[in-house]
C-alpha cells in the first residue's frame, strides 16, 4: 500500500513539474508574440507622426523639397507594404530618409527655435528609440524562449508539444545597425 502511495506521489510530482514547464513555455511564446506586435505598434506611430512633421517644417525648409518628398514617399511605401520582407525594406528606407532630414535640420536655426517643431522632434527621437527598443525586447524574448526550448528538461516537452524556435530580428542593411543619430 505504502509503495503504491509513494508511486502516486512521485507521478503527481512529475505531472506538476511538467505542467509548470509547459506553462512557462506558453508564457514565453506569448511574450515573443507580444514583443513582435509592439514593433508594429511603434512603426505605425512613426507613420502617423510624419504628416504632422512635414506640415510643420514645410514653411521653413523651402530648399529641401527633395528630402521632404523622400520621407513622404518612403512613408507611403512603408504603409502599403504587406510582406515582411517588403515591410522591413521600406521601414529601413524611411529610417534613412529621416536620418538625412535630421542632418539638414541643423541648417535651419529658425526651425530649431519653433516650439511646435521641438516637441515633434522629441516625439520623433522617442519613436525611433521605441522602435529599436521594441526590436531589442523582441530579441530578448526570443533568446529566453529559445533557451528554454533547448535546455533540459523543458526540451522534452517542447518537442512533444511542438514549440518551435523563433527567429531573431536581424537588420539586413549595414547602416541600419547604427542607431540613427539625432542632432539638435
Amino acid at each position: 500500500m505504502s509503495a503504491f502511495l509513494f508511486f502516486v506521489i512521485v507521478i503527481a510530482a512529475i505531472a506538476f513539474y511538467a505542467v509548470s514547464i509547459y506553462n512557462s513555455l506558453v508564457r514565453l511564446r506569448n511574450q515573443v508574440k507580444n514583443a513582435w506586435s509592439q514593433i508594429d505598434v511603434q512603426l505605425k506611430r512613426r507613420h502617423n507622426l510624419i504628416p504632422n512633421l512635414i506640415e510643420t517644417v514645410k514653411g521653413y525648409m523651402t530648399h529641401e523639397r527633395d528630402t521632404l518628398e523622400n520621407i513622404t514617399k518612403a512613408r507611403s511605401a512603408a504603409v502599403d507594404a504587406s510582406s515582411i520582407a517588403d515591410k522591413s525594406k521600406a521601414e529601413s528606407q524611411l529610417s534613412g530618409a529621416l536620418g538625412k532630414f535630421n542632418l539638414v535640420v541643423e541648417n535651419y536655426p529658425d526651425l530649431k527655435a519653433n516650439q511646435n517643431f521641438l516637441s515633434l522632434q522629441e516625439e520623433l527621437t522617442s519613436t525611433e528609440n521605441k522602435i529599436s527598443f521594441a526590436r531589442q525586447s523582441y530579441n530578448d524574448q526570443v533568446l529566453f524562449y529559445n533557451n528554454k526550448i533547448e535546455m533540459f528538461p523543458s526540451n522534452l516537452l517542447a518537442g512533444m508539444y511542438s514549440f518551435i524556435k523563433e527567429e531573431f530580428f536581424e537588420i539586413e542593411i549595414e547602416e541600419e545597425r547604427e542607431v540613427p543619430k539625432v542632432k539638435f
Binding site: 514583443a35 509592439q38 522629441e122 527621437t125 522617442s126 525586447s137 524574448q141 533568446l143 542632432k183 539638435f184
Partner: protein, 404 residues
Amino acid sequence: MWELIQANRRKSILIFITMGIILILLGYFFGVAFLGTEGGVFGIFIALILWGILSLVSYFSGSKIILSISNAKEVTKEVHPQLFNIVEEMTIAANLPKMPRIFIINDQALNAFATGRKPADSVVAVTAGLLSQLNRDELQGVIAHEISHIVNRDILFMTFAGIMLGAIVIMSEVFLRGYWIGGSSLNRYKNKSSGGGNAQAAIMIASLILAILAPILTRLLYFAISRKREYLADANGARLTRYPEGLASALEKLSQSSFNLRSANKAIAGLYIVNPLKKTGMKISDLSSTHPPISERIKILRSMMHGVNFADYQNSYDKIKGTSETIIPASGLNLSENIAIRSELEPIHNLTKKETQRKLGDIVMNVNKYKFYNCNCGVTIKIPPTYKADKITCPRCGEVNLRD
C-alpha cells in the same frame, strides 16, 4: 528575465526565513524572560501579530504613504513629454505589462525612486532638479535603473525585508525598555521558584544579548541585500539602454550635486537611486549603507568596454572590486548573448547655471499646473492656475493677449 526573477525570489525567500527565525526566537525568548517558560508561545504570538499588522499596512498603502511623504505629484504627458517618452521607451525595452505612473518631486535635489508592489501597478518618481540637469541619455539611464527595480520585484522585497527588520527592531526596543523599567517584576519569578532562578537568569542574559544583537545583524543583512540589488539594477539598466555611460554620467552628476532632498527620511532612503541622506561621493564601503559607494558604481559602469550583457557587468564588477562576489544570478550570466554598446544619442550639452535654474523653474511651474503663454514679442508669460481673468497684459510690450 523570468529565470532571473525566479533566482532572486528564491534568494529572497531564504533571507525572509532567516529574518523570520530571528523574529520568532526574539518573541520566544522575550516571552520566556518576562512570563516564565509558558510565556514562550505567547511571545511568538505577539511577534507574529506585530509583523502581520506592519505587513498589512504597508501592503495596502505602501506606495501611497511613500508618495505622500516624498511630496511627489502625479503628472500627465504635457508636463514633461520627454520624461514620459523615456519611461515608455524603457517600459518597452523591459517588456513590462504596463507603463508605470509618473510622479515629479518639486525639489532641486537630484534623485529618483520607483515603488509599487507589482510591475502592473508601479510608480516612477523623479525630482525636478534631476529633470533640469540631466540630458536625454542620462535621464534614460536613471529611468532604466528604476525600471529594473520594478522588473526585479526589488520594491516588494525590500519593503517586506524592511518590515521584518522593523518588527525585530520594535521587539528589541520594547524588550530593552521593559527590562530597565520592569526589572523588579522579573525578580518575582526568581523568588517564586528558587530552582528555576538560575535558568531564568540565563534566559534573561540570552534575551538581552539577543535584543542587542538581533537588530544589528538583521540590519547588516538588509543593507547587504539592498546594496546587491542596487548593483543588479545598474547592470540591468546598462543592458536595457545598451549605454552604460548614460547611467554613469548621471550618477556622477547626482554625486556632485550639493542639494539635499528635503523630504527624505530614513524609512524610504533605500528606495532612491542614490542615498538621499548621506553626503555622497564617499570612498569607503560603508557596511551600514543601503547603497554601494556611488564612485564604485560609476567605475564599474565605465569599465564595461566590450558589451553590456550581464556577464560584462559581472566582469567589470570583479575587476573594480578585486573580489568575485556574484552579483548576477547564474541564469543571467549564462545567457549566450553578445550585446554591443550603442553610441550616444546627443552630444553632451552643458547648460549654464542660469539656464538650469530657468528650466527647473519651468518644470516646477508645469507640475503646479501653470499655463505658459507666448506673447508675440517673444516673452513667455507664465500664468498661475489661480489667475482667472480672460486678458493677460504682456509685461514687456504691454500688448493685451486674450486667453484661449
